[in-house]
Each structure stands twice: as structure tokens, then as C-alpha cells.
Symmetry: C2
Subunit: 178 residues, 2 copies
């Protein structure tokens, strides 16, 4: 199973690709999609760069699933609106590739990667480097995206364990009842 | 020239299609894309409905250009974030169809349609009905979308008049200087 993690942003969207092979995680690729080449004021052109970039990742790496960060309200409402549109473009690009999209908060990602939800950026970068046996720490946006992919791998493993223990059905009906 | 107007919303996105033939506007179609069929909590599925809906409109009506409302910050920041993502999905769908996307505020639309920026929803609906010779007033979301298409038709006419008067080049360089 190959997972594509996406940390959405209007200026810089991080991505990370990894393979899950049983208990092992294997690094495939990571980096960023930058929209700085478009005119700052031209939002449609910037959203198109995000859409095309994600389609390029899909064509190159053929992931089986995507994990996207749930973004939060910013102190600046205008920035919130722009971030929302960037995230909308990223999620839309993923679903238009027919990829199942899982969503995690930064807190969940930090808990999965660093063991606690208040981990600093540098800690996330260091833990992602260690977990994926990388020669150097990835840049922050790419580390967050790889962290989201790791979070999704852990979540999938937890569901598989529950199912193996015969708890899968009761768990999912429990979730449905909410 | 055929224009597709889009009034983005997460629950209901209005659309309106019209043809511009010289000074005349001809109504083609209008309606809404509803995402209520998807699970409320499943944002990716709702954004996919918006993306697929706009692609369906593009395939059916083959517009030459799109006009989308510029959304504003809501009193509820969480609602702002959701609206931003819905608008991001709509704009992404339009640019992925290779459509040029123009953006107008509700104020600009109301000025173009009703003559003043504080027009009430019912006034916009009545003026759209009159301008397009419709047998009845369209519902509010569809009227706003048709209003955006009308605004874009007016804007295009203004540019054409300036160009005919030999003012096109100086105007655009004036804009460029800002």
C-alpha cells in the first residue's frame, strides 16, 4: 500500500510518499508544490498549479490512498479564507484522481510521529528522518506531509489489528452510531 | 460568447449560463449543485460532487469563460473555512476545464444587475428575471450566478468599448503600472 501525504498551503504545499509493507515503512519521495511562479493576485492560476501538481504526483507515484491535514482557523480571517481555498483545491485534485482521502489534524500527526501533540516542527522533522531512515531531515512542509502518511499507515494498522481480533465490525458500527 | 456564472457554497452552489450576442443577453440555463446527498461530515465527498457537477456543466454547455463570486469572511470562522474549501473546489474545477476565471464581489454583481451594491436578494432575483426575459424569478443561488455572468458580460463590453475608442492599450498599461 502506497500513501500520499499532503500538507496544504496556498504558497507551499508539502507532499510525501511512502510504502507500507507489513510493519515496515519505506520512503519513496517528498517535496513541495510551489505556487510562487503565478501572479500573487491570480488565485485561480495558483489553484491550478496545486491541481496540476497533485495530478502529476498521482501519475508519477500511483498512490493507493491520500492523507491530508485538517487546517484550522487562523488569527487572520483573510488568511483562513485563502488557506481554505488551497486545501479545497488539494482535496479536489485528490478526489478527482479517485483517491480515498483520509483527514488528520496536526495534533494527531504529531502524536503519531513524535508521541505527543505539542511537538515542535524540528522534532517532527527529526522523528520523520529517524522513522524513515533518511540521510537528512526533510524540510518542514515535506516532513509534515510524510508525517501525515505515517499517521495514516498507523491508523490502517490499528484497524487491521482490530479486525484480526474480530472487533472490526463492532468498532465500525460504534463509529456509525455517532 | 457563452458565460458560466458560479455562486460557490458548500451545501448549494448556484450556476447560470448565458450567451452574449452583441448588446443582447440570452438565457441558456441555471440551477444549483447540491452536496446534501453526501454525508455531512465527509468533506472530500462533498468537494467531489462540486468538482463533478462543474465538469458536467462544462460538458453540457461548453462555456467560453467563467465568472465566480469572491467570497468574504463570515462571522463564524469555521464556516469561513468550509466556504473557502467549497470555493477552492469550484475554481479548481473551472481551471481544470481550461476555462478563464473572472472574479467579482457580490457588491460588483449587485451594482451591475440592480444599479446599487446594497440590493436585497429579492431585487437581484427580480432584475435578473427582467434582464433575461424569464417567465419567473430564478431561486436566489441561481439568480446570483446569472448575475455574475451578467456582470462579466458588462465588464467585457466595457473593455471592448474602450478598445474601440483606441483606449485599450493605455488603459491596460495604466493597470499594469499599479
Amino acid at each position: 500500500m502506497r500513501i500520499l501525504g499532503i500538507d496544504p498551503g496556498l504558497r507551499t504545499t508539502g507532499f510525501g510518499v511512502l510504502d507500507v509493507e507489513g510493519p515496515a515503512l519505506r520512503y519513496v519521495a517528498s517535496g513541495v508544490i510551489q505556487t510562487a511562479q503565478a501572479n500573487q493576485g491570480d488565485l485561480p492560476a495558483r489553484l491550478k498549479i496545486l491541481f496540476d501538481g497533485i495530478h502529476e504526483l498521482q501519475a508519477r507515484y500511483r498512490p493507493d490512498a491520500a492523507a491530508v491535514e485538517i487546517v484550522f482557523v487562523n488569527v487572520n480571517p483573510q488568511a483562513t479564507l485563502l488557506l481554505g481555498q488551497a486545501r479545497g483545491a488539494c482535496v479536489t485534485a485528490l478526489v478527482s484522481c479517485e483517491l480515498p482521502v483520509a483527514e488528520y489534524t496536526a495534533l494527531q500527526m504529531k502524536q503519531a510521529v513524535a508521541g505527543h501533540g505539542k511537538a515542535a516542527k524540528a522534532q517532527v522533522q527529526a522523528m520523520v528522518q529517524r522513522l524513515l531512515h533518511l540521510p537528512a531531515a526533510p524540510r518542514a512542509d515535506a516532513a509534515d506531509a510524510l508525517g501525515l502518511a505515517i499517521t495514516h499507515a498507523h491508523a490502517g494498522r490499528a484497524v487491521a489489528l482490530l479486525q484480526a481480533a474480530g472487533l472490526g465490525r463492532s468498532t465500525s458500527s460504534m463509529y456509525r452510531r455517532r
